[in-house]
């Protein structure tokens, strides 16, 4: 389990990360989303153990993250261009994999790489493919991928998504940062929106809340929205079921099975009888993650 508590990162007095709290379970694929400069790469560098946080706790399985603890593919991976692909893979395999080099070379040849070619001769897309291969070749327990598909064609992207699915099926925890939200929808269990140095919202993509477009979101003021509060709400609602929503003070109300989904007036009637103070009501109509991201990050 990856556990981050109040992680802050400061560069010359400027806080890029202002208090990150994260809890990523083993075998989960976690998508990290945010605008350019939001601090996604900085956060991945900290989780990868190649950069230290200025404040806060960062642990994996209750232990401090060691230097370069995990497989990490940085944004725009950089290689030793003067080496051939074979020499580079041999170098990265290190001493523990002596004698198994041939297996890895054959796997690369299956991916259409000429292993005796110099890395400097590779196209940007092939460099990214090579980066993904070397980041995952040792079957690591945790993989961090920063924009892994940004330079890939649609076929390459699909291959990478398949690879991430395979990693997930094998129990590997993956943290994936990308602007291509369609990729996240395909592979992620959970996504976190990084905004202004915080994880602004987290969404469980397996949650039914995101499955339809006829829910209503209430913002409750003056009350702590916890399980007890939601239970109290549910006792007052007839045609709807309330769930704790994303963000502070939010409750999502979903029509019960068999209820006509176009019963806006019924909903308004029901909530007018609630005893709590409602500061806003809106229909949840997110069609996809991209709209969700714009909604969250421009709020």
């Amino acid at each position: 389990m990856i556990f981050l508590e109040n992680v802050k990162k400061e560069f010359k007095g400027n806080y890029v990360l202002k208090g990150i709290n994260l809890n990523i379970q083993d075998g989960e694929v976690y998508g990290l989303v945010g605008r350019n400069g939001a601090g996604k790469t900085t956060l991945l560098n900290i989780i990868a153990g190649i950069s230290q946080c200025s404040e806060g706790t960062c642990k994996v399985n209750n232990e401090k993250i060691p230097e370069g603890g995990f497989s990490y593919l940085p944004d725009l991976p950089s290689f030793y261009d003067y080496l051939s692909i074979e020499e580079y893979v041999e170098f990265l395999l290190g001493t523990d994999y002596k004698g198994k080099k041939e297996d890895y070379i054959q796997a690369l040849e299956k991916l259409n790489f000429k292993t005796n070619a110099k890395i400097k001769s590779l196209s940007r897309g092939n460099r990214q493919k090579l980066g993904i291969y070397v980041a995952t070749m040792k079957n690591p327990g945790i993989v961090l991928l920063d924009e892994p598909t940004s330079a890939l064609d649609p076929v390459g992207r699909r291959e990478v998504m398949e690879l991430i699915k395979q990693l997930k099926n094998g129990g590997t925890t993956v943290i994936l940062s990308t602007h291509i939200l369609a990729d996240l929808e395909v592979v992620c269990d959970k996504i976190g929106f990084l905004n202004e140095g915080y994880i602004a919202n987290e969404f469980d993509l397996n949650s039914p809340v995101l499955e339809n477009d006829c829910d209503y979101e209430l913002n409750i003021s003056g009350e702590t929205v916890d399980e007890a509060f939601v239970e109290k709400l549910n006792s007052q609602l007839v045609n709807f079921t309330a769930k704790k929503g994303f963000g502070v003070g939010n409750v999502v109300c979903k029509p019960k099975d068999g209820v006509d989904k176009n019963i806006q007036q019924t909903f308004l009637d029901e909530i007018s009888k609630l005893t709590c103070s409602i500061s806003s009501i809106k229909k949840v109509s997110f069609l996809n993650l991209e709209e969700l991201m714009v909604e969250v990050l421009t709020k």
Binding site: S51, D96, K98, V134
Partner: protein
Amino acid sequence: MSRLSLCMKKDRNEFLRSKKLGVSIVFLVAFMAFVLALTAVIPRLTQLISVDIEQLASGITAMVDFLKNYFPQILSESMAFYSTEIGLFYSILAIAFSFSVLPKEIKSGRLILPICNGYQQKEIFLSKQLVYSTFCSVPAGISYFIYYLIGSTFLENDYSIGLALISALATTINVFSIVAITIALSVTYKHSALVIITMGLSVAASPDLLFFLPFGKFIPTYIFTYLNYSINDPMQLIIPIVEYAVIILLLDILVIKRKFAVVVDERR
């Protein structure tokens, strides 16, 4: 094969394939030819020509006298000129080769994948230091000895082969130490310009300035002075060499203990 030796193999390829060794050798051969031409070939040629062409005799005789005055045809003095060339120009070239090797790797993010594949900073750093120092310094020492062998056929030989070997070794140690210190400072200082200023001043200015001080003999840059004056007392080299070793050791411990930034953001 240990991870350090894998790193060294990779750095050896880097040095050889980036043509730095080639440039080193071209510079050394060019220095050698330049100094030999001044000290041996030109005076000799002008003497020969003056015998055959009487009408040029007076002008050529004046030129020979001028060259002899500035470049005496004695091997030890000729080697002193060559040492100065290595000490001043070649050492600065070696600093220019080495001051940016590790910062460039940090800036490009090239260290991330090796570190995330189990390599430690100390292995990466020590490998770079050993490979670059060796590949820059060994050609300098060899060229110094080759210079001795060639020079001894043209010039009056007042320098034994044993002394020449020791001086060649001192040249190697000197360049090795300069490069090793440069690489250590390049990850200690945040700004590369400071490394160039520190090392450039140490190589170009300190030997001449410190020689005149009472303790001048007991600092590392005395090796420059020793070679530049073709001094025949190898025992004088012991203290500066030991000091070089101590400085490199301390700097290496500092770099390994403190660790350096692997990503460029940390160096801002």
